[in-house]
């Protein structure tokens, strides 16, 4: 079962933690809001993805289970 990252755009306040912690999959737009690379999170990045989710100050970053 694969997992994907998703942002709740209402909760996100562009603190930028996820961009710092997971630049492999998350970049910032011109205003600092995260842009997530499409597709499932590669297995070797899952621990980093979990850490980025945990570090988000507004709990806006989500790691979804794909069906």
């Amino acid at each position: 079962m694969s997992r994907s990252l998703r942002v709740n755009p209402i909760a996100c306040e562009a603190h930028g933690m996820c961009v710092e912690l997971l630049p492999e999959l998350i970049t910032a737009d011109p205003w600092g809001y995260p842009i997530i690379a499409p597709g499932p999170v590669p297995g070797h990045l899952l621990p980093l993805a979990r850490r980025a989710v945990a570090a988000c100050p507004t709990l806006a970053l989500l790691l979804d289970q794909n069906e």
Partner: protein, 454 residues
């Protein structure tokens, strides 16, 4: 439906025949009092079989903008309702009929609610029975007091006649573009602000009062009221046959639809057409162009621009309009005259849409004003390669970045303008803004003044 019930209600001398041809939804002599409504269409056929399957077979799609299959949505809500079970004694699902019509160039929902309120109320009751809902809401633009009173009178008429099968409450929705979006209506019903919410949970899972909720446009519900009476085959008797399928219309382009035609036509107004009618024919229905035309806007501000001569043969249906680069949306067609500047019109609406943001999502709050600024530069300032590149980049940057589809709609609208008005951009770049930019905009943007997005 039960013919016996129809005969009883309408009197023995009258038989109820399905409406032949058009119009189906809007009686020319409406609004009809309840007794005349029942006389014409027959009573709402409750328990006349599996309505959801019939709606699926009819191929009815939502007429609020997204063209989502109506039967599939009903089935999902019904299933979610069974799964949720009764909660604290208030079991069941909820039906929300969306008549707020926040698309500025659209007038069809208001016309339908004014002229055929009982068809919409029948649709609410029938859909409620099909999905297991014990109550319904009907949303209208909160500024339209008269319409709300008219609908309250129609509901009162049904109560007095003992025909108000499902209690329906009228809800005034703020006059903001995104306030009538599904999750925004749910949020308002739950006591919050009329702003879009992050999904999931989607309304069909957890909507009004935490119950699975069916949100359908009022026109969709009026179609359901007729499909319940006259069947899927009757509904599909209008509309084109998809490629390779013999017989009358089926699939996503079936049935009739209400289209609001405006701009440079001699007889602007709401027209009920068989889906699949070519754009050019609809323009003829609307009296033809009132001045030299240059482009169409199809689908409203979530739709797109199409060049006039290339679009005349395009069928008015969501699949065909999407293939051409626009959409059916809520059934809006605006004819842009050559005396207007397509870039200025697009800048005008890009600015309007920027002011319509609910202010919740960063990419929308920042991106839509940036997009509006870049369009104003293309129309009124230096339409150079750099400005065009920025506009294209912003289109990509805001798409699918919000909780609702406002940024996606604004981006698609601008992207279609950059393609349709490519020649104008080159002319503006070579010779500066054209003289037509000073014309009063053709497209409606209620309450908006130039530069208000700043």
């Amino acid at each position: 439906m039960s013919a016996a019930r129809a005969m009883r209600a309408a009197g023995p001398a009258r038989r109820v025949l399905p409406p032949n041809g058009l119009p189906r939804l809007i009686p020319p002599d409406g609004p009809l009092p309840l007794a005349d409504h029942i006389g014409r269409y027959g009573p709402a056929p409750f328990q006349a079989g599996d309505l959801i399957t019939v709606v699926e077979q009819a191929g009815l799609t939502g007429r609020g903008g997204a063209s989502f299959p109506a039967g599939r949505k009903m089935r999902t809500v019904a299933q979610a309702g069974r799964k949720a079970g009764p909660l604290r004694g208030s079991g069941g699902t909820i039906v929300v009929a969306n008549g707020a019509e926040s698309e500025p160039a659209s007038g069809k929902d208001r016309l339908l609610l004014t002229r055929a309120p009982h068809l919409v109320l029948d649709g609410i009751a029938l859909a409620a029975e099909a999905v297991g809902a014990a109550r319904g809401y009907l949303t209208v633009d909160e500024r339209q007091d008269e319409l709300a009173l008219h609908l309250a009178a129609a509901i009162g008429e049904r109560e007095r006649a003992g025909q108000n099968w499902v209690p329906v409450q009228i809800l005034g929705v703020p006059a903001r573009y995104v306030a009538s979006q599904e999750t925004a209506v749910i949020s308002q019903l739950n006591g919050g602000a009329a702003k879009p919410a992050f999904v999931p949970p989607r309304p069909f899972e957890k909507g009004a009062h935490g119950r699975p909720t069916l949100v359908q446009n009022v026109e969709t519900l009026a179609h359901i009221a007729l499909i319940a009476r006259f069947g899927a085959d009757w509904f599909r008797d209008l509309g084109p046959a998809p490629a390779g399928v013999p017989g009358p219309g089926a699939g996503p382009a079936a049935g009739s639809a209400l289209i609001t035609v405006s701009g440079a036509v001699n007889r602007p107004g709401v027209y009920e057409i068989a889906l699949g009618m070519p754009v050019g024919e609809l323009i003829s229905w609307a009296g033809g162009p009132s001045e030299r035309p240059q482009a169409f806007l199809a689908g409203g501000y979530f739709g797109g621009w199409l060049p006039y001569d290339q679009a005349l043969d395009v069928p008015v249906s969501d699949p065909a309009l999407r293939a051409a680069g626009a959409a059916l949306g809520s059934g809006v067609l605006v004819l842009l005259p050559e005396s207007a500047c397509g870039l200025a019109e697009t800048a005008w609406i890009a600015g309007f849409l920027a002011t319509q943001s609910a202010g919740q999502c960063g990419p929308c709050v920042n991106g839509l004003p940036a997009l509006a600024g870049m369009l104003e530069q293309l129309a009124f300032g230096r339409a150079d390669r750099q400005a065009l590149g920025w506009a294209q980049r912003l289109v990509t940057l805001v798409t699918r970045r919000g909780a609702c589809h406002l940024p996606d709609g604004a981006a698609a609208f601008v992207a279609s303008a950059l393609a349709t008005f490519a020649d104008e951009i080159r002319q503006h770049a070579a010779a500066g803004p054209c003289s037509r930019v000073r014309r009063r905009p053709v497209l409606p943007a209620p309450g908006y003044v130039w530069g208000q997005w700043k």
